[in-house]
Symmetry: C3
Subunit: 431 residues, 3 copies
């Protein structure tokens, strides 16, 4: 073993000891672990890759049984067994369900399916999985009108998923749901603001630590809310909104939301740059793409306007990664957060992480979040990240002469635990 490898291994050993905070997931608090192998394989990463590699969408018809679906999926996934996503699956079934092979095959999936079903019935399974992942706490993303009761605060923290409010307020259905949950009739910009305020306050009262949303490329934000917004709301409510009105509406709703987040000291998590529905023929949750050439400049008016709000930013396009670093470097209320979706691939993470570590204040880096739908994926996703973090800290930090091995360990603690705690105001909880 070279010196370089043993440094990396020592760092990894320390990193593995850190009890992480996962600041973004889609885990349902009432069904946090997978009930079946089909649920694990139903994660869009697998269905979309299988479909992309040639699998017919009909395989996934909801009326087909697990016995019918899984063999088809297993066959299709042979074509994607080179990917990190496939590796996630193998690592988690190995560590959590005692799977012993290197690939999923027509011969070995059934015992595995049994093991998944058995494990799902064990009491305290969620905490058990989180312990095995060495995850202390997982943030949820909850719809604005979701019931927040019954969330186990030892395991989970609610977070206001704001996509519907910000991107779909022009739809009567969303406004209807907003009126219902807030008890406020939306008659104009003012009452729309009141309704949003009620929602944010309800989330804050329930212990929510952030609002989060994904935004499309070229989304426009506003420096100030003026008469323009009032008129846009009026046009939308009157059913005669132009595209420009809708754009102003969206920017305005986002500003309102940020204002209330400011009042409640809630950071805002923005995932920037996804084009929903770009690919027509995809499977469920498999229609969205990034767009090269996009910029965060459109977000700057918002960052300037809400100097008191912390924005945790993720991007989807590699071309924006260095722009994101410059924002973290310069803009006091920007924190860099994780490696999102199409950038959540080792080769991308390694290079993005190296530049972040070398140019952004260490207190403004949230290393990783899982974005997972079931807790099991926290194991392999965070393990992947831990290995890359160890390697990058070894190569691009310690060996590059930027600090000592001890410095590197301290930085890893900040990125995986200390910064999430401080940024989201968790200090004192579950330490």
């Amino acid at each position: 073993m070279t010196d370089s490898q043993s440094l990396r291994d020592r760092l990894l050993e320390e990193i593995n000891r850190i009890r992480v905070i996962d600041v973004h997931s889609h885990v349902p608090h009432d069904a946090p672990v997978a009930g079946s192998l089909r649920e694990l394989l139903g994660y869009h990463y697998y269905t979309e890759l299988a479909h992309s590699a040639g699998m017919d969408k009909a395989v996934l018809a909801p009326d087909r049984s697990e016995e019918e679906v899984i063999p088809d999926l297993v066959r299709a996934l042979e074509h994607v067994d080179n990917t990190i996503q496939y590796k996630w699956m193998i690592e988690l079934v190995t560590d959590l369900f005692g799977f012993q092979d290197e690939k999923l095959t027509l011969e070995n999936w059934q015992p595995l399916a049994d093991a998944v079903r058995r494990a799902a019935r064990e009491p305290g399974r969620a905490r058990q999985v989180m312990d095995q992942c060495n995850i202390d706490k997982v943030f949820l993303t909850n719809e604005f009108d979701e019931d927040l009761g019954g969330i186990d605060a030892d395991l989970f923290g609610p977070s206001l998923r704001s996509d519907a409010l910000v991107r779909h307020m022009d739809e009567a259905d969303i406004r209807g749901r907003l009126e219902a949950t807030s008890g406020v009739a939306i008659r104009d910009a003012g009452s729309m603001a009141d309704a949003i305020g009620v929602v944010v306050q309800r989330f804050a009262d329930a212990g929510a630590r952030s609002a989060s949303m994904s935004l499309p490329p070229h989304f426009c934000t506003l420096r100030t809310l003026g008469g323009e917004f009032d008129r846009a709301v009026e046009a939308v409510l009157g059913g005669r909104a132009s595209d420009a009105d809708v754009a102003v509406l969206r920017a305005g709703v986002l500003s309102l939301l940020c204002g209330f987040c400011d009042d409640c000291k809630m950071p805002v998590q923005i995932m920037w740059g996804v084009t929903r529905g770009a690919y027509e023929h995809g499977v469920y949750q498999g229609h969205d793409l990034l767009e090269a050439g996009d910029t965060l400049a459109n977000l700057m008016p918002l960052l300037n306007a809400f100097a008191g709000v912390t924005f945790c930013l993720s991007v989807l396009s590699s071309g924006q990664e260095q722009e994101l670093c410059s924002y973290g470097w310069l803009v006091h209320n920007v924190v860099l957060s994780g490696h999102w979706w199409y950038l959540n691939v080792p080769a991308h993470i390694a290079r993005d992480l190296a530049a972040r570590l070398q140019s952004v204040p260490k207190t403004k880096l949230i290393g990783y979040y899982s974005d997972m739908y079931k807790l099991e994926f926290g194991l392999s996703k965070f393990n992947m990240y831990r290995r890359i973090l160890a390697q990058v800290l070894a190569h691009d930090f310690v060996e590059a002469g930027l600090g000592t091995e001890d410095d590197a360990v301290r930085i890893a603690h900040l990125m995986l635990r200390g910064n999430p705690q401080r940024v989201f105001g968790l200090t004192g909880e579950g330490q």
Copy 2:
């Protein structure tokens, strides 16, 4: 030697054994090898680099003899002897013509020129060179009205070069050639479609396996062909086309072409993102540049519209590489193909390849094509790629824990031979 180096060397040994399919070249089937050293050095990579480094264009005047031109080129190429392109030249003249030095000099070019001329006269030289390159088959790119007779099907496969049709149909000259080759008088959108259909069928009948074209940044494609296209054709034929008409014409011709390719089961190779003529002062074939910040989003309507056509995509800008990966990952009819032109540089290939290997189904990766004008370049270009592939498979696949050494070898086979065979329907041929 470290473990890592010996892994890479073992992989390279296996990779060197793979008999590759070269899916894109500009080799003329009736003059596939270089007749002279001047032809080798006349490849635009050398003339454009020499000119860029200060060589007067007048050096290349067609009336100058080899004895006059080569010394000037040799002197100029001293300034570019750091580049991978220079390395290509040295490697191929060493392996194919017995050159023994590290640089081309005023002292050693003449014996080399003799060797090149001698070799060109050897019978069966093309197959001999291809064997030394370990290339099984080379795709050509043939003009739409080119005579396809006399192509040696053991060595070559024709391919319909569609640039003129797609990008220049507004020019009377091109339409005249299209009418002549198809026997169809172009009077409206319908007859234009007929003429294109005749061309595609002629290519299919001649064994062509693909249509290929390069497109400029911001090129627009259409989801459906409607009255808009009819009117654009009318305007063009009537000599009163606006820029918008021409844009619709181009998009429409591309759609027509894809429709006929669908009928003939011909994949479409699209090289995206070259701005022709950007640099005014360049040498022959040395005027074209990429444009940073461009996106593939404009191609999405076409990909959605022709779900039955396989699109083999290359990009020219590093900012689009990760976007391309996401397309290969998600979109069922997209295959990633090679490393084109300004991205055909080891540092770019290595990083682009790592991400492709980690996130795109292995069956949707065509590793490399030569884009060469003479067969000799297949040697050094593919050798360069083989070395990078071995290194990336070692470092970013096996060592990164994504698979075994055997998996890596199997993936290399797919990328260099199996996928080209399957995608272009060559299975059974020349195996």
Copy 3:
């Protein structure tokens, strides 16, 4: 030590012997070294990172004493001690002021502050620092109406900073200053050209070797100057200029300037892509950001128009780096220069440098410039670059099979000394 490391170390030893030319700095010729620790820590890299990490701007109020300011800064910089910028500070105070610790603390800053003050009073300090940095000559950037007398030509070369002329000619204040320094009354496009010509000639007479400027993303340039420019000047002088007029004015002034540079054989240094004032809340010099997705295509008309002018280009966005390489590769009058600002980070430099070395003529690469405000930073910035250059030459050039160790050393000489000398016509000076 592995073979690879010892190769790198041998290369570094050779590189360290090269007496470099620094082609771009903001050093004031009459106060080239730091008078105090506060001046060192006042470099915007430190104040902006400290502020970004949470420090109140009020810390930097000009009426606060060094004893008040520095402890606050030291405390804030703890949060950024992972960055390369922090490393620059530690390396320079260690090598130039005998600092012995790994971090700056509340305990150790005062002796350091004393050492800085003492050193500043030593006679010949500037040359002494430059010798320790192994810098032969430093280019300044001088305002167009600055007094160029008293510049020590052994140490410094003046350069015409053209930002005000190119970007602010629509402001009466700038025109007033231009009239005052040139003695030409600006009444129309012709007299504006005359005034600019006087300025360029004055700089040329004073030994200036270049004009330099930073330009914003999307800046437009013109292929030719026509009546459009005359009308734009008229509109600006008449106080009724539209945004479009101002854009034409700027493009036109840049063209005029390039024309005069052509006459005087002065290369033009363009730093492309900074959005001034993007971030509202920043500290002094801490408001500017890059924009992802931008392209150099807008610069092409200028590059085409002034084929006799050498343009030394830097970019600010990683998405443009490969575009920049293609320009250096193809366009005869483009030289690649350094690693600017947000790209001046080891992880970015290493990857950008590898591609430059493999694809751009070696005679068209200016390795690095300091961009510094005080000479001391030349030490750690150039040392950082030397280490990366050694590593990249070892890994991506020698080990990648592109050339020998001797070739690598020769390339390093060109990049750090030979090319700056030739490009800026310094041959024969201070060798």
